[in-house]
Subunit: 288 residues, 2 copies
């Protein structure tokens, strides 16, 4: 049986933490698209993010993917319905899986959510957590992404900045929160530092990891019930042309990377985010 | 005599420090364009920046400007020739004026230049300073822009980050540099903090201020010698249609603001950068 073809979309390198989690969990052909010429999405308006993300989603669909993962909290929070309308394949975002995991482990029913400004402004996590009967205290942490991209993963300045943000967020939550949701795909790289400065009784939910588990579940459900809908992954796969012969079946995981800006900078950062050498990156021009 | 019409272009709000310096120095009708849907330019490649900036320059030219100021170090460093080709009006960038001022005040003929990653990678300041017979030690400071935009203008974290960057830069310059060039339009807001932590014998050159002086000089030269070329500002002005009646001649300075992303965020930041209330901002879609 052929491997699933999974499209992964982010505005830049952050979504590679989701790709990393997925590729550790299950074999697939992975197609990663980083809209690096137009990043960051986290500071842009909903209309702009929806337009950019839909274009990227259509590009990935043209690679004959079975399933699209929006590995970008801002794009999921601001534009998931528009992206789902733009393509025919099933679309998985990062908000719902993170909220579901938080709900599964919380006793106090109260969570702190840290994210970019755009994700917080959308209140997508608050709404998702409210649906699970949980209270959410959202905190925009706009300096954490640049600190991660500067490579200051375990740096005193990053710790000081994170202490300021978390101090404020947990104070607003009246110390009742027992879950911290990392609602930005850059933040998993800060997990060790954040674990060190987060109150001991607080569990950390990594939305990259949660999303990976949700995708695996979806793939397994689709294998078990290939007949249940015209839109199932198995049906989609059977309609596909043969696999691109340029993709070797290495270890049952293959990777293609597409970016809209310079491939050099992406390669440098990608190696850090993915935890493996990234040598070949293809440039794509979506216009604009 | 009618006021000059000056177009000011930046990827975001940073160029407002140049607008602020100019409007303090001379009356004009100012047209500011912030390409906020595609910012920051400082992390993007030369090709992408050239494409974005040329589109923005053509938009400003359509406002019947006499002169265009590229109030963006990244765009000047990476794409000034392409922008000059894209429009017919005279174009002033921020690199040359900053380098000229540094040269005029340096005794040691050695400068430290702090800027974004893209500006440093272009080595535009090093080349400009070399032409004046000066040595340049360029240092990318990618965290300073997000710190300014977070509003941490005089914050202990910002001071710590700036100390790290400047310490490294002046060490590389072997303590010989007697000028620090602020080669990013966000940095003038950090000038008091930077003055406090920069060695006393080092003069600080603000490229926003230097650019404003260069534009004033150009306008004065054009007034004195209106006959010297078909392309002079006076000639251009005489060909123009009458002023837009929607622009009231308030204090001989009028302002129009155009942005490609949300106007709300721009208004909030603009008030801080410009040092005056910004109420009316127009949204423009350049595609992409």
């Amino acid at each position: 049986m052929s491997l699933p073809r999974i499209g992964v979309f982010d505005s830049g390198v952050g979504g590679l933490t989701v790709l990393r989690a997925m590729s550790a969990q299950f074999p697939a052909h992975y197609f990663y698209f980083g809209d690096t010429a137009r990043l960051p999405y986290g500071t842009k308006s909903a209309e702009t993010v929806a337009r950019y993300a839909s274009g990227a989603a259509r590009f990935l669909e043209s690679q004959n993917i079975d399933l699209l993962v929006i590995a970008c909290n801002s794009a999921t929070a601001l534009a998931l319905p528009q992206i789902q309308q733009a393509v025919k394949v099933p679309v998985v975002g990062v908000v719902e899986p993170g909220a579901a995991t938080a709900s599964a482990i919380s006793s106090s029913r109260s969570a702190v959510v840290i994210a970019t400004e755009a994700t917080v402004s959308s209140h997508a996590y608050r709404e998702a957590l409210n649906r699970y009967g949980m209270a959410a205290h959202e905190m925009a942490c706009p300096l954490l992404v640049p600190l991660v991209e500067e490579g200051w993963i375990d740096h005193p300045v990053t710790e000081q900045v994170a202490r300021i943000y978390l101090g404020e967020a947990f104070a607003a939550a009246s110390d009742q929160a027992d879950v911290l949701v990392l609602a930005c795909t850059h933040y998993p790289l800060l997990a060790p530092l954040l674990r060190r400065i987060t109150p001991e009784h607080v569990a950390i939910v990594d939305s990259a990891e949660s999303t990976s588990q949700a995708v695996r579940q979806l793939l397994q459900d689709s294998e078990c019930h290939p007949e249940r809908s015209e839109d199932t992954l198995a049906t989609e796969r059977s309609r596909r042309p043969p696999l691109d012969p340029s993709i070797p079946p290495t270890d049952h995981r293959t990777f293609r990377f597409f970016v809209t800006d310079s491939t050099d900078k992406f390669k440098r950062l990608a190696t850090r985010f993915l935890g493996r050498q990234v040598d070949h990156v293809e440039h794509v021009d979506l216009g604009g």
